[in-house]
Symmetry: none
Subunit: 226 residues, 2 copies
DNA sequence: CCAGACCGTCACCAAATTGTAACCAAAATA
DNA sequence: TATTTTGGTTACAATTTGGTGACGGTCTGG
């Protein structure tokens, strides 16, 4: 999936130049030449990154940036500001505006491409790493309470999801049935340890091909393998 | 594209005066001299702004304002109220009516033009983005306390609206009942209660087709899906 | 003061989930 | 090979969970 980038600048030649280079590099590009158009496009199809010139007629880049930050859907889109004056930099990157990077004109295309690449990478890493576990085609998203195989979610019950999560979080290490009972069921007492087996079966059944990640270690317990 | 403005006043001379000045300033103007006519015109071709006199025969400006706010297509049109008494101002601008600005008669034409310009500018720039959540046909406008489906507003109570808002703001992430109690009801205590469920039911009922966004995650809580 | 809106609870019900036991197959052991 | 141990599988009853309708209390605008 090609990342979508919105380029905003009031000078058509500048836009064209950037657009050409970005497309060369494999991005999908949309453009705008004034604030209203920029906001409209940013909202109708939220881009993965925005390149935004500060100097614009009517609504300037600062305004646009601030506005985008206030809107839920666009508040996290990385923004690279293009600015003429070095003096503006602090404001651009500071809390008030919260742009993610800047370039002073004139800038080299290579430089712009590098910054874009960096920001896109950061976005993908940061967002996913924290609460999202990924093992090839299998992904587990804790806050959403969704586990999926190739983006197709499984229909897991609460216990099954927790069991899978606990195992995946300790991927590689064998977990005894007692450990699982403690961590998944939060029982002090001794419920039948065969309960774990039954849940493992159900989990495997629902996971289908993804159940290859669930190993039985005979005489010990279960293990999640990558 | 010239902004369209609807002027409503029962005194023909007043209407004429305003109309003349607005046209001078490059606006397209339509007029009405009573409530029924005003509503009809406002609906048939939604204006970009309405100048509305409070004192009108039969249906007064308050009524019209309220009615316009309830109608999907006109609920966001900025309204400037013309009022004789300073005492009415609170009510005009408050939540009940939600006019966007007011002028006490007599007023200078220059003043009116300034207010109009300000409101129209706001409308184009910030208004839509600021605190407006959009999920396909469903939109939630926090400051206006208005949630709507294809621009048709729901008739939600305060609690229902807040519940919807909190869920939508954390779209995707499951919220436990305890979390919802804390964030929507601002309870500290974790009393066992079915209150959340009941409100979800009422909310779903009112949302109709839009309730497809509201997922139940059995054993965990509720989730707003996009 | 009253009617109506709004809200928190409760009781009930259907459905989903879950723990357990009984049974079977495979692996380990002798 | 026979026996024992371990884990998989099936079935089922008990429990949990959430949806729903109803009720009474409170607040508010008229």
């Amino acid at each position: 999936m090609k990342p979508r980038i919105l380029v905003v600048d009031d000078e058509p030649e500048a836009v064209e130049l950037i657009e050409f280079n970005l497309k060369q590099s494999g991005y999908t590009v949309s453009t705008a030449t004034d604030g209203a158009e920029a906001l409209k496009k940013a909202r109708s199809q939220v881009p993965d990154l925005i390149v935004l010139d500060v100097m614009l007629p009517e609504m300037d880049g600062f305004e646009i940036c601030k506005t985008l930050r206030l809107d839920a859907s666009t508040s996290r889109v990385p923004i690279i500001m293009l600015t003429a004056k070095a003096a503006e930099i602090d404001r651009v990157l500071g809390l008030e505006l919260g742009a993610d990077d800047y370039l002073t004109k004139p800038f080299s295309t290579r430089e712009l491409l590098l910054r874009i690449k960096k920001l896109l990478a950061r976005g993908q890493a940061g967002e996913l790493s924290e609460n999202l576990l990924r093992f090839g085609d299998l992904s587990i998203d804790t806050p959403r309470h969704l586990a999926s195989w190739r983006e197709k979610p499984f229909d897991l019950t609460a216990t099954e999801f927790k069991l899978l999560t606990v195992l995946a979080q300790r991927a590689g290490r064998v977990q005894s049935r007692d450990q699982l009972l403690r961590d998944v069921w939060e029982y002090d007492s001794l419920i039948d340890t065969r309960t774990v087996d039954t849940h493992m079966r159900r989990l495997r059944e629902k996971l289908g091909p993804a159940s290859k990640h669930l190993d039985t270690v005979r005489g010990v317990g279960y293990r999640f393998v990558e």
